[in-house]
């Protein structure tokens, strides 16, 4: 069974409640109103019949010549029917109704001299039958009053009540839905804010609330987010400061190293080997510090946004062209997509992916720029061992080298290349992942929002 959301459950409960309440009200209204109307009609009908029967009675006593005229006069203005039991049979005036439709019990009461009334259906129309003794109790006087109008009124009333119940049910449902959403809005906002924090926006906060039920929730969330932001920024600033302070001694080391490298021939044996080691490590140290500064930069500068329109094809062509070594196959779609970018970071992304292929897979074999699902897409293929499933997220983490750990000493990478790629791509509003390349090897896929020409 599908479990309804809280909001819909609130709405349903409110809807049902409204229907029940409106239903009870409608039933009570119906009973009171219909009973009252019916009693009114009966009272007036009986009074009318009593007046009529006195006229008939007088006419019978004086002789029956004018009885027919009197009866037609009494019934001419309405659909009423008057039946009088005479020794010769039933005398009927007005709308013709067979006396057989009258219940015998009712007639018996009239002949017994007891006035009575009853609602019944006479040949298709609802009527109120009023019986009175006439001619000194010798015969029965029956008058049938049609109830058609009252019936219509009842039908109208019941329709109005039914529609009312249905409408209030819907209204209750709608109100419940709205109230549910309103009541849950703080939760929705909390979810959205938390999602933004998870997505890297450390400045996401909840608005202050006057409502005491919600104020503490918002305050707690905001305090947590404040602490998190402060900590992340402090860590990032520290990394940035460290890198910055390291740049000066590194400049000295790198240049002193360059002087020594030119004179490598003058150093032989152990000293020469130690120098090689030293120079190699200076290079690696330098890359690491530069990458570390770059990677801590975004946390420090959340306001920077990509603002240059760049042809992704140009970027790839340029980066491939300036790299030493055998270039990979470059596969560009006609009219390569434009992206909104920081040119330096985009270049770095392509270069880092190519570096990665150099280090772990003997070099990239193909770099492609395509369009895919409305986004600009960059693919860097290698024919190396590929990346196992369980490593595919991990390799984009800082200093995470997974199965390659043992091999890093040789290549002198910073351990930050792919982490920088992930960060730069995310900064551009894109996504990066690694998958299997058809035919073996790994394929790094970068997707970026396309800007239209």
């Amino acid at each position: 069974m599908v479990r309804l959301s809280l909001r819909w459950r609130v709405a349903l409960a409110l809807g049902l409640g409204t229907v029940v309440l409106a239903g009870v009200l409608a039933v009570v209204t119906w009973n009171l109103a219909s009973g009252y109307m019916l009693r009114q009609r009966e009272t007036s009908a009986i009074r009318q019949a009593e007046v009529n029967v006195q006229l008939v009675d007088a006419s019978l006593r004086t002789g029956s010549e004018g009885l027919g005229d009197l009866l037609s006069g009494l019934t001419s203005s309405s659909d009423a029917t008057i039946l009088i039991e005479r020794p010769s049979g039933w005398l009927t005036s007005g709308r013709q109704v067979d006396a057989d439709v009258l219940p015998p019990a009712l007639l018996r009461m009239a002949t017994d001299g007891v006035p009575a009334h009853q609602r019944l259906n006479a040949q298709g129309i609802p009527v109120l039958a009023v019986t009175l003794p006439v001619d000194g109790g010798e015969s029965a006087y029956v008058e049938l009053f049609p109830l058609t109008q009252l019936d219509q009124a009842f039908r109208f009333l019941s329709t109005v009540l039914a529609i009312g119940v249905a409408a209030s049910g819907l209204l209750g449902l709608g109100l419940g839905h709205w109230a549910g959403r309103r009541a849950l809005r703080p939760l929705t906002e909390l979810t959205q804010a938390a999602a933004r924090v998870v997505g890297g926006d450390l400045r996401a906060r909840l608005p202050d609330r006057d409502d005491p039920d919600l104020a503490s929730l918002a305050a707690t969330f905001n305090r947590t987010a404040d602490a998190l932001e402060k900590r992340v920024r402090r860590d990032a600033r520290f990394a940035g400061d460290v890198s910055h302070e390291l740049r000066s001694p590194l400049t000295t080391m790198a240049n002193a190293g360059a002087v020594l490298r030119r004179r490598r021939d003058e150093l032989t044996g152990t000293a020469g080997r130690a120098l090689d080691l030293l120079l190699g490590e200076i290079g690696r140290f330098q890359r690491m510090v530069v990458d570390l500064l770059e990677i801590s930069r975004d946390d420090l500068r959340p306001d920077e946004v990509p603002d240059e329109v760049v042809d992704l094809g140009d970027v790839v062509r340029h980066v491939v062209a300036v790299r030493p070594g055998k270039p990979p196959e470059v596969d560009l779609v006609a009219q390569p997509p434009l992206v909104l970018a920081d040119r330096r970071r985009l270049d770095r992304t392509v270069a880092n992916l190519l570096d990665n292929a150099d280090k772990y897979a003997g070099g990239a074999v193909r770099v492609a720029v395509l369009r895919h699902g409305g986004r600009a897409r960059l693919e860097v293929d290698d024919s190396g061992p590929g990346v196992p499933d369980d490593q595919r997220e991990q390799i984009f983490e800082r200093f995470a080298r997974g199965p390659y750990a043992g091999r890093r000493g040789v290549d002198g990478g910073s351990g930050l290349g792919l982490a920088l790629v992930a960060q730069d791509v995310r900064w551009h509003g894109g996504a990066v992942r690694v998958e299997d390349r058809p035919g073996g090897g790994a394929r790094f896929v970068v997707e970026l929002p396309e800007v239209h020409r």
């Binding site: 400049t251 300036v322 985009l346």
Partner: protein
Amino acid sequence: MGVQRVEDPAAERRMGPVDARLLMVEDDERIRLALGLALADEGCEVLEAESGERALELLATASVDVVLLDLMLPGMDGLDVCRTLRARGDQPIIIVSARTDTSDVIAGLEAGADDYVTKPLVASELAARVRALLRRRHPDGGSPRALRLGDVEILPDEEVVRRGGAEVHLTRTEFGLLLELAQARGAVVSREDLLRRVWGYDYFGDTRLLDVHVRRLRRKVERDPDQPERVLTVRGRGYKAVGVE
């Protein structure tokens, strides 16, 4: 501070002589020493100054080809030194800084520097940039005859630009940029090509350099730099000069 010259024929054989006189303005003594030695290996003659004031003092009497300028200096700020030098003339300047933020790079270039490099860097890279900067006035395949760009007149031989008859003062970089665009005769020149031809090496990525110099150039040759009529941006592709005769 002082004048150093390290003769090393082997270095000149490997790298080709730069044969440039540089002034290194840097407050960190160890960097001055190491970079000085390494630049000497590249064939440069290096003067040193430990502060901006000292650098300006030196330049009043000595002439150098390129000034290498650190930004974080005691006393007078590196940017102020750069502005002062630019106000004096078209002395080629390369900023060598530990600051890598976009805002710092743009501030440095806006102050009039021809190039901006970040520490840590090695002397060979710096020497390549010096060489490129010194070659900048002589673009390859340049036609020697005068070019006109509306009311702007370019005389490649005399290295003079006139606007409405009056001479406009351009730095080497700005002159190179204008000449490259004018010689393309209205065709779009990509950012890469401009960087390669004007700065003279495979500039990796940093197009901020180009954008700031185009902005500076526009201030000198456009009637309204915010609504350029001569040097236009072609979105996603590069720049072009309009109305070349």
